[in-house]
């Protein structure tokens, strides 16, 4: 068996800045993972659909516009509805400290705030894979 860790990086919402998302995507690739990048301005529905079709182990969402309290739980909800409750969610972007517990409650295993080194994300994924 030649299994690779597969991660989908999605950008829900309206902001068009994907430098951070692409930076993480490249770092994960360089760590040997298969990263599916879906582009900017994706609906939660589109991200969830893609995650199921791509059979990923992880979905990482990146958002700078401040709509995370609405859009992140939406992705989690639709993913569950489509049978993807075993997919591990994480998020990143401009997210205030006080919003993090709420996001963890709806299923986000980790939230990375600006300035996070890419290696932290890689470490997180490798830890989760080992824990499976």
């Amino acid at each position: 068996m030649d299994r690779k860790v597969r991660v989908l990086i999605g950008k829900p919402g309206l902001d068009g800045h994907d430098r951070g998302a692409k930076y993480i995507a490249r770092a994960l690739r360089d760590a040997g993972m298969e990263v599916i990048y879906t582009g900017i301005r994706q609906t939660p529905e589109a991200i969830a659909n893609a995650s199921i079709q791509e059979d990923v182990d992880f979905v990482g969402l990146s958002l700078l516009s401040g709509a995370h309290n609405h859009l992140f739980p939406e992705v989690a909800r639709i993913l569950k509805e489509k049978g993807g409750s075993d997919i591990i969610l994480f998020g990143g972007g401009v997210i205030p400290e006080e919003d993090i517990p709420g996001l963890k409650e709806v299923g986000f295993k980790a939230i990375f705030t600006p300035g996070t080194a890419a290696t932290e994300v890689v470490d997180f994924i490798e830890r989760e894979i080992k824990a499976r």
């Binding site: 068996m1 690779k4 690739r29 993972m33 589109a46 659909n49 079709q53 059979d55 489509k82």
Partner: protein
């Protein structure tokens, strides 16, 4: 036990359970132990789904074009499947798969299934996994199933030729690459697409492509050449008409079934042949590297090893014949 698991997965594919289908694609890609039996259960040489290969150099607009073609077939109410293959990094083994970015128009459409694959760089594995992924989507009655591959290496060209129809996408400004691909142009494309027709240099490209097609020994097999712009949409209708008429010229179902079957069997023979020969060398010498050492130390030659393999295979056959 195994067979009921196989049936369960094959059933999920046939009823197009998206989660199950996606799982089976991973099993095929990862060389899961059940994958061969699932494929065995799903294979139908006379399936009605057509497969369309889209190949060409990186950046030629293959994904953008695929997005347009999906739109075309969705208008005809077909469920469309897509396999998009991008190269894996030879250093890390990872891959950044970004073809979906260009296919966003269909991101929420339940009638479109898109799967990204990294080439993973294993011997023969790329074409094997992609070949089987096409059959899986066809068995889930996606019709057509499109497969996008970067058409630079042998393996990718091989995949493209596994499809029932192959589009070769070329763009202006490649210069030397078109020269290098001349042989390929004549052999792999059923339809040659000159994309980025909105760019300067398109006429020059058309001339150079037509000139190389002149060299085809059999001019009746000369593929149609279509200019278009996947970006602006100009010429896309010409292209879809050309594809449609090509499809209707493929009337002989039995003939398509024979071609498909022979390509798949041939590819499995090559895959297994390589596996078997490698395994025999490994059994005898410990590893391929150790076999090389033996050759360098003067104990044998590559031909000597070849001879040993032939003898082994022939003996095996004789043993079997005695029973």
């Amino acid at each position: 036990m195994l067979s009921s698991e196989t049936d369960r997965f094959a059933h999920m594919v046939r009823i197009c359970d998206v989660r199950g289908l996606a799982r089976v694609l991973s099993m095929v890609e990862n060389g899961h132990i059940l994958a061969p039996s699932i494929m065995h259960s799903l294979y139908n040489p006379e399936r009605s789904s057509l497969t369309v290969g889209i190949t060409g150099p990186p950046g030629a607009g293959k994904s953008t074009l695929t997005n347009r073609l999906i739109t075309f077939w969705r208008r005809h109410d077909n469920k469309v499947g897509v396999i998009a293959v991008d190269p894996s990094s030879p250093f890390s083994g990872g891959a950044l798969l970004g073809d979906r970015v260009r296919m966003q128009d269909h991101a929420s459409d339940p009638g479109v299934f898109i799967r990204s694959m990294g080439s993973r760089g294993h011997l023969g594995g790329l074409s094997g996994a992609t070949r089987d992924a096409l059959e899986v989507l066809a068995a889930a009655s996606y019709d057509p199933v499109l497969v996008e591959t970067v058409g630079v290496g042998q393996a990718e060209v091989e995949i493209a030729s596994l499809a029932d129809i192959t589009l070769l996408v070329l763009v202006p400004g490649l210069g030397d690459e078109v020269q290098a691909m001349k042989a390929g142009i004549m052999e792999i494309g059923d339809i040659i697409v000159l994309n980025k027709a909105d760019r300067p240099g398109i006429e020059q490209l058309a001339m150079s492509v037509n000139a190389s097609l002149e060299l085809l020994p059999d001019q009746s097999e000369r593929p149609p050449v279509v200019k278009c712009s996947a970006q602006t949409g100009e010429g896309i209708e010409d292209l879809t008409e050309t594809i449609t008429s090509y499809i209707s010229s493929l009337t002989e179902r039995k003939q398509i079934a024979r071609r498909r079957t022979s390509l798949i069997l041939d590819s499995i023979i090559r895959e297994k042949g390589r596996y078997l020969a490698r395994k025999m060398v490994t059994d005898r010498y410990g590893s391929v590297e150790k076999a090389i050492e033996s050759i360098l130390e003067g104990e044998t030659t590559p031909y000597g090893i070849g001879e040993m393999l032939s003898e082994f295979i022939d003996n095996k056959r004789e043993c079997e014949n005695e029973h």
